[in-house]
């Protein structure tokens, strides 16, 4: 017998009779037999079912490669119309399914986009449904196109990219002005004054500039700086105006408010440091460029981006 006896000899329980173990019927060396432990029926039938499933699958879906081609399956049922009006009917494949789903989503979105296309930014902002849709869509556009420079929340980078969340606008903060800034881009230029003015003059002008935003400055220096600022010797007033309140058509900053986009005056601890920050700008000038986006974005996209930027914090 090949079966082993596991029952302890000293057990006083009655021995339960085990059914004889099934063997394959072969015997080697007289007594070596091979056990036959057949797979459970549910397993065997499950295996057959999966074979049948595979064959059905080959018939229905793309399956076998043949040279550079493959069997397409009999399901020839993906139909959709592309954006340029072409009718597509193809065998089952995930790429076509993706294209079809994307197309369906575009069509769903189109209904809202059409509404936005015909509405003014003012209408969008005043309408609850339109502004909600525009907000969600513009948020993605902003993240893709604008956030790299202006930062995800619009805070910008002092000295490089203007803050869009405050209420100071170099080029104007109305819907139309923001839209123009995005569509056509902007080129902010301030000439360098290091050649035109000497060190003392630059110091005096910086003193005057700080006095405009109510910093406590030296009276004599401020008076000299004001003279340079408002005369042809400096010529600052051409762009910044005699009041120092800037000029939106030139993108010239308002020097009288609390917002600083280039010289990080609020971060400086004392007046001297603040003045150095201002002097650096006067010496080197500014050359900033925002690229035009009308080549990359559609009219409607620019419109809703203007709405989004406007509501970031300080739109006018």
């Amino acid at each position: 017998m090949a079966s082993t006896n596991n029952t302890k000899p000293d057990s006083n329980k009655p021995q339960t009779k085990k059914p004889a173990v099934q063997t394959t019927g072969h015997a080697w060396d007289g007594d070596i037999q091979e056990f036959n432990n057949p797979l459970p029926n549910w397993w065997v039938w499950g295996f057959y079912a999966s074979i049948v499933f595979a064959i059905v699958y080959w018939i229905l879906f793309p399956a076998w490669p043949i040279g550079n081609d493959y069997t397409k399956g009999v399901m020839n049922d993906i139909e959709y119309t592309t954006a340029d009006g072409k009718q597509v009917k193809t065998h089952w494949n995930t790429r076509a399914l993706f294209e079809k789903n994307m197309r369906e989503a575009e069509i769903k979105q189109q209904k809202y986009l059409d509404q936005l296309a015909s509405a003014s930014i003012e209408d969008i902002a005043n309408d609850e449904v339109k502004s909600n849709f525009a907000y969600s869509m513009a948020k993605v556009l902003y993240a893709d196109n604008c956030a790299a420079c202006h930062q995800p929340g619009g805070a910008g980078v002092v000295g490089a990219y203007p803050n869009l969340a405050d209420d100071a606008w170099l080029w104007g903060g109305s819907f139309e002005q923001i839209k123009t800034s995005i569509a056509a881009g902007r080129n902010g230029i301030m000439p360098a004054f290091s050649a035109k003015l000497n060190a003392t003059q630059i110091d005096d002008v910086a003193e005057y500039v700080l006095s405009l935003s109510k910093h406590k400055t030296d009276v004599a220096k401020t008076a000299r700086g004001k003279e340079i600022f408002n005369s042809t010797s400096g010529g600052c007033y051409f762009c910044h105006t005699k009041a120092g309140s800037g000029m939106e058509s030139m993108g010239a900053a308002n020097l009288t408010d609390s917002v600083w986009t280039l010289a990080d005056v609020p971060a400086a601890d004392n007046l001297q440091a603040k003045k150095e920050a201002v002097k650096a700008i006067i010496k080197k000038g500014v050359n900033r460029k925002m690229p035009p986006w009308d080549e990359r974005l559609t009219e409607t996209q620019i419109k809703i981006l203007a709405f989004y930027v406007h509501q970031l914090g300080g739109g006018k």
Partner: protein, 479 residues
């Protein structure tokens, strides 16, 4: 090298042909089947008046992410109530099982209900137990093909209707039924109907008692809740077996006193209790895990006892203690603890469900950027107010501030917040603070939102107004 047929590794099912029986428990069971089927099949057709207009009384609308159960509307975020409901149901099951055994199995489980209906169909088509056994053993002929075929067809029909009825809970029944019948129904509906048709057919028609014996976890772990006081279907073996055991009612042994004199018990060994058992066990062997306490053997035995003129109750609802002549205790520590926990969960569940808020308000400070300096030197913080309106009414809210003196609240273009019925909206508000008014770097304050139509319903939310350290110091110096 013997070629003897070897036993199968798995146990083979022996076919069960339960005999029908009439009696008290059979009537209760039939009443429960009719009630359960009535509710299950008709409930999707009940209409209900709601604020948003008339609709289905019970509808689980997945695409709209809302479940409507009469006057309760549950949204996706309320789904944890389902977990509490399950906890409540499980505890109720434990509580009942501790006292009265497997009443759920025997009377209410859908496996029992549907198997009962399938057996009824089988009985009507193929006849009583002997006829069914004969039919099963006979050679295949036209009659056998017809009878077996008709049985399976009717089973599939009931299974299909079961699938359809289930599907109707998940959509507007009058529309959905038309879509199903014209093959326009969504794919998910088709798959659900197919799946439920197949599972109902297999479970109630083919697998039957094997579901309870091998598949159902509850059938196996319910023994943990049993004790000697648990009420089960039991055979009174002292009375039934006597001293010498059971005996057929032969001529000399028909009178009860004669049997007693000769030492035989009351069991006349007719085998009726075994024949009616849907799980194919002999209750006289004592409590067995296959027994679902369907109580049909009680009906069978009572009928026989009455016909031979013996008192009823040879097989009856009883407990182990009672059988041994002791008292059955209903109030035992286990029952009391289960009972207390059950009441606690029930109170939490129903009170919570009734008192749940139908409007969620949350306020979150915009953190990017955390603050902005405006051209006039004011500090501006922005906040996103999210309102989740779970009612069927649109609502308007006003916003005000509490505990932030000198602040200017800017709601933008809208002077009040509007939220449509059963939807959620996010609004951005700005708060501007002149530097000289700032008292702390991080000033805690409250948003107060008031429902315009119901002044009594308002929400407060505590948040912070942030001023950067440097600007705060400067504002202090400038004072």
């Amino acid at each position: 090298m013997s070629e003897t047929p070897t036993p199968h590794p798995e146990q083979q099912r022996t076919a069960i042909y339960p005999r029908s029986v009439k009696g008290f428990y059979r009537r209760i069971k039939t009443a429960i089947v009719i009630l359960a089927y009535g509710v299950y099949f008709l409930l999707p057709w009940l209409r209900w008046e709601r604020e948003s207009g008339p609709s289905q009384a019970v509808i689980f609308d997945i695409t709209a992410r809302r479940f409507d159960i009469f006057d309760f509307t549950l949204f996706a975020q309320d789904i944890f109530w389902l977990a509490l409901l399950f906890a409540f149901a499980a505890l109720l099951l434990f509580f009942v099982t501790g006292i009265a055994g497997r009443v759920f199995c025997g009377y209410f489980c859908f496996q029992t209900l549907w198997t009962d209906v399938f057996m009824y169909i089988e009985h009507r088509v193929q006849g009583e137990r002997p006829a069914r056994i004969k039919l099963a053993e006979s050679k295949w002929n036209a009659q056998k093909i017809f009878k077996i075929g008709l049985t399976h067809f009717l089973w599939l029909l009931v299974a299909f209707l079961t699938g359809i009825a289930f599907t109707l809970y998940w959509g507007n029944a009058p529309d959905l039924i038309v879509e199903i019948l014209t093959f326009q129904a969504p794919f998910a509906a088709g798959i659900t109907i197919l799946f439920l048709t197949l599972t109902t057919y297999v479970m109630a028609g083919i697998a039957r008692e094997q579901v309870c014996t091998y598949m159902c976890p509850y059938a196996r772990f319910q023994s943990a809740m049993f004790d000697s006081d648990t009420i089960v279907v039991a055979y009174d073996s002292i009375r039934g077996e006597g001293k010498k055991g059971r005996h057929k009612p032969s001529k000399e042994l028909i009178k009860r006193d004669k049997r007693e004199q000769q030492g035989y018990g009351d069991c006349v060994d007719c085998g009726y209790c075994v024949q009616v058992c849907p799980t194919g066990i002999d209750i006289r062997n004592g409590l067995q895990y296959q027994c679902t306490t369907c109580a049909l053997c009680i009906d069978a035995c009572s009928k026989i006892m009455t016909s031979v003129g013996y008192p009823k109750g040879l097989i009856r609802y009883s407990s182990e203690n009672e059988m041994q002549g002791k008292r059955t205790r209903i109030l035992k520590p286990k029952t009391i603890i289960y009972g207390l926990v059950l009441v606690a969960v029930a109170v939490i569940f129903f009170w919570g469900l009734i008192a749940r808020s139908v409007v969620d308000v949350s306020v979150r400070q915009v953190r990017q950027p955390l603050f902005v300096v405006l051209s006039n030197g004011d500090i501006q913080n922005r906040y996103a107010i999210k309102i989740n309106n779970k009612t069927d009414r649109q609502m308007w809210l006003t916003v005000s501030l509490r505990g932030l003196e000198g602040a200017i609240l800017d709601l933008g273009r809208f002077d009040k917040i509007h939220v449509s019925a059963a939807s959620s909206s996010t609004f951005y508000v700005k708060i501007k603070m002149p530097p000289r008014k700032i008292l702390k770097e991080n000033k805690s304050f409250e948003f107060v939102l008031t429902n315009i139509n119901e002044k009594s319903s308002n929400w407060t939310h505590t948040d912070n107004f942030f001023t950067p350290k440097k600007l705060f110091k400067q504002s202090v110096l400038n004072k």
